[in-house]
């Protein structure tokens, strides 16, 4: 009769041939191959310090008749290490998801159990079909002062382990990166690039929970990024691009008030309009950097976001401008 046996890496394994006596004459095979008698102690099979390669099917046959007396499937593995658990809200205020993984494989099947406790209430985290190690929760209440406590327990035949994370509703908010980022040259403007993007589709309510954006861009030939923070709108015109140089551009998003910045969007490439007929729009061509006259390569004034004149684009509100408003408001209180 068939059987599965789980053993730890490095353990010593003793297999008995079913109900056969110790001194019976038997032959053991591993995956069909006869095992040498040196591994036998009577009719028992001794495997010392097992490793992963010794996983497989072990069968025991009675000496003369070749009747199959016992069969087992040996799976060598490890008990689980402490799992890695991450919870995040990319769809605020709808809810959040938690995803997990093991830092090292166990080589045997594992089962996961997740519990979410909010104050005194236990909430159900619905397992996602895909990806597998993920579940999601809907918020029942918003603006909670009580933390969420999520515990993940992983169990297998050789042991168990768990980890817990505790967090406030606001700290795990992190949108997905902006989508459909497009950068285009502006005709007859050799220093401009027009960038536009869309809110991530997972963000359910940009009207009530607006996003702000962070744009970074640099010519391929330089390492230093330039940054622009935008509180409004999903487009921006870069006005200080080096003429004729290919640029790499990325955008990130963040809830206006809470949480952290998203990962950077997929990078897009664009080159400002030039008079010559070569069109280096979106192909990543290695530009002729050294041959180009570096003497004309003067760094233009960096787009200071506080300099009102430099900021172009619908609704781009510079950070300093808002700070000035706040200070003015606060100053008024002391009148």
């Amino acid at each position: 009769d068939s059987h599965i046996q789980y053993e730890r890496v490095g353990a010593d394994v003793t297999m008995k041939c079913g109900s056969m006596d110790w001194d019976a004459a038997v032959t053991w095979t591993a995956n069909g191959t006869d095992i040498d008698e040196s591994h036998l102690n009577g009719s028992y099979l001794i495997l010392k310090n097992v490793d992963l390669t010794q996983s497989g099917q072990y069968s025991c046959y009675e000496g003369s008749s070749w009747h199959l007396k016992y069969q087992t499937y040996l799976r060598v593995g490890t008990p689980p290490k402490e799992p890695v658990l991450l919870c995040r809200s990319n769809n605020y205020p709808k809810g959040f998801y938690c995803s997990w993984h093991l830092p090292t494989p166990t080589y045997i099947p594992n089962s996961f159990n997740i519990s979410v406790i909010h104050g005194t209430r236990e909430m159900v985290c619905e397992k996602d079909v895909f990806p597998k190690n993920r579940c999601h929760i809907r918020y029942l209440q918003l603006f909670s002062t009580v933390k969420y406590k999520v515990t993940l327990t992983v169990t297998n035949a050789l042991g168990k382990n768990s980890t817990t994370v505790t967090f406030d509703e606001f700290t795990i908010v992190k949108p997905d990166p902006p989508e459909s980022v497009v950068a285009k040259p502006v005709p007859n403007n050799p220093r401009r690039l027009e960038v536009s993007w869309q809110n991530p589709s997972s963000w359910p309510d940009p009207e009530s929970f607006p996003l702000k954006f962070f744009l970074r861009y640099r010519p391929l030939i330089l390492d230093q990024w330039q940054h622009v923070e935008l509180s409004d709108g999903t487009s921006h015109t870069i006005t200080d691009a080096y003429a004729g140089k290919e640029y790499i551009i990325q955008v990130a998003a963040k809830d206006n008030d809470i949480g952290t910045w998203s990962d950077w969007s997929v990078a897009v490439h664009a080159t400002p309009w030039t008079e010559e007929p070569k069109h280096l729009t979106t192909e990543a061509q290695v530009t002729e950097t050294t041959s180009a006259s570096t003497s004309s390569f003067m760094p233009p004034p960096t787009t200071k976001i506080c300099d009102k004149g430099a900021v172009v684009g619908n609704g781009a509100v510079a950070v300093c401008w808002t700070a000035g408003l706040v200070l003015a408001a606060y100053g008024l209180l002391f009148i």
Binding site: Q141, T145, F209, Y330
Partner: protein, 216 residues
């Protein structure tokens, strides 16, 4: 014993303050009073609170200043209206209800914060608390101004807190301080969202002063 009676009296007195200056100040601040300004104030306060709360919690000492500290909410009557709300209910709030909820909450929070003032440890901490309370009063006035200019009546001043349930020991008193700061922080997060919604629904041009109609 006695000090709590004095405290209750003081709180009642302090709590009625915000309502009075509002009647005079809205005339001076005039049409400048806007939802945007109120929103900016909540963001400013939220940033200030981070430093203040850190310092105050350190003053309270462990476990209150531990990042994972997650105590259960005691079943006492909550002193301050909680920011926590059902999502659909929050979405469906009228502008008046939304503003009133903010006004009531901050009036109460201001009152309790002012009470903290006298007892806090170092002079530095008391100074910071005082500074924060001034800013918070500014927020209350700002909200009052928005309500007035939109023609909404100001909610009645907060009732004096019940004298009876008083923290029986030092630890529980510290626990109350902890929850006060937590509630304040959560309200500031919520207000940013409240005023975002108001911004969208009430364009700045509409926010004009209609003091004449109110008979001020």
């Amino acid at each position: 014993g006695d000090s709590w009676g004095i405290f209750t009296f003081l709180c009642a007195a302090l709590c009625n303050l915000p309502a009075l200056p509002a009647l005079n100040c809205t005339e001076e601040l005039g049409a400048g009073q806007s939802i945007q300004k109120t929103y900016d104030l909540t963001r400013y306060l939220e940033h200030q609170l981070r430093t203040l709360a850190g310092t105050y919690l350190n003053y309270l000492g462990p476990p209150f200043n531990e990042p994972d500290f997650n105590p259960p909410r005691l079943a006492r009557a909550e002193r301050v209206p909680s920011a926590t709300v059902d999502l659909d209910l929050w979405r469906g709030l009228t502008d008046n209800a939304r503003l009133a909820a903010n006004y009531r909450a901050y009036s109460r929070l201001l009152c309790y914060l002012r009470a903290l003032d006298g007892q806090a440890g170092t002079a530095e901490l008391r100074h910071r608390l005082g500074h924060f309370c001034s800013s918070l009063q500014g927020l209350v006035l700002s909200i009052a101004g928005v309500m007035s200019s939109l023609g909404y009546p100001l909610p009645a001043g907060p009732p004096a807190p019940p004298g009876a349930p008083v923290a029986p020991n030092d630890f529980l008193k510290k626990m109350e301080d902890f929850w006060l700061l937590k509630e304040l922080q959560t309200w500031l997060w919520r207000s940013a969202k409240d005023f975002n919604r108001l911004k969208k629904k009430v364009p700045p041009a509409v926010v004009t002063l209609r003091l004449e109609a109110r008979g001020f």
